[in-house]
């Protein structure tokens, strides 16, 4: 089981993501620099970490989504490689088109950092299946642009296909339909604004995020 974290200039949750992966897999995650052109073939799961890649200039995640490594990531994800993006990582995935929709400025126009309760809306996925007996989790959120937007048509389809995995309990940013996390059609690419990787330790943020990582790792 080999995992990797992609590091962009001004990623700042890369270490947190790597710690979470190591905790669950028992093995150090590989850190891949954005200038690389290829994700090694033996990598089983890739995380796009949170942060402010390229200063969030132009649009959050926009410049990162056009970087060399992400071009290869798109290819591999389309062929089924499991990928998860948290916060800035979700914004990048939306910018690539691997996930539908866009993340806009929070409705309140302010950065918001809090412990956010989330309802798990589909437990039948590679990313959530270990939450069997759990209805909701609390993950930290910390973002300025987490307001999920997609056309009504897209939202309807996401809901119908069970591709909305997490919803906010008390919408912090104006996201349509309270959407916090979604996956692609194949179910191998997942993105969410909250930070499960900051919820793997009782001393810091709680442990609600552990089952998320265990779910996806087990599924591989």
């Amino acid at each position: 089981m080999k995992t990797a974290v992609i590091v962009f200039p001004a990623s700042n949750c890369d270490r947190d993501a790597a710690m979470a992966l190591e905790k669950v897999t028992g093995r150090k995650a590989e850190m891949i620099w954005h200038r690389e052109t290829e994700i090694p073939a033996d990598i089983d799961f890739v995380v796009l970490p949170g942060g402010f890649s390229y200063g969030d200039y132009l649009r959050c995640g926009a410049i990162a989504s056009r970087s060399p490594i992400v071009r290869d990531l798109i290819d591999k994800a389309e062929k089924g490689l499991p990928v998860a993006g948290f916060c800035n990582g979700f914004q990048i995935l939306a910018e690539t088109g691997l996930l539908p929709g866009a993340l806009m400025r929070n409705k309140g126009l302010k950065f918001v950092c809090r412990n956010q309760k989330l309802t798990i809306t589909n437990k039948n996925t590679r990313f959530t299946r270990r939450y069997k007996d759990v209805e909701s989790v609390t993950f930290p959120i910390a973002h300025h642009d987490g307001n999920y937007f997609a056309s009504d048509e897209v939202i309807r389809r996401l809901e119908k296909d069970g591709r909305v995995l997490f919803k906010y309990d008390g919408n912090p940013n104006g996201s349509k339909s309270d959407i916090a996390g979604i996956c692609n059609e194949k179910g191998n690419v997942f993105g969410m604004m909250p930070h499960p990787e900051r919820a793997i330790d009782a001393q810091h943020g709680g442990t609600d995020g552990l089952e998320f990582f265990k779910s996806i790792i087990e599924s591989i």
Binding site: R59, R66, A102, N106
Partner: protein, 80 residues
């Protein structure tokens, strides 16, 4: 050459920034303001002399990077 790219939200996409601006202006006593929208302008300095080429290039830049077509539309002006 210079290209000016205007990028704005598509109609129907909620614009919280625009709305906040209009409200603040009303609060400041500017009652004539009925609504506001915020967009961005990107000014590019370009090498080369060929207008048609420039237009084609900048269109490609918009499609590939500058605009997010899920929520934004764009308009290009080329100046000499």
């Amino acid at each position: 050459m210079k290209a000016i790219v205007h990028i704005g939200l598509k109609p129907g996409v909620l614009d919280p920034q625009g709305r906040a601006i209009a409200r603040s202006l009303n609060d400041l006593g500017f009652d004539s303001v009925k609504g506001a929208r915020q967009g961005k302008v990107i000014e590019l300095d370009l090498n080369g002399e060929d207008r048609t080429q420039a237009e084609a290039d900048v269109t490609a830049m918009c499609e590939k990077l500058l605009a997010n077509l899920v929520i934004e539309s764009y308009r290009i002006d080329i100046e000499d």
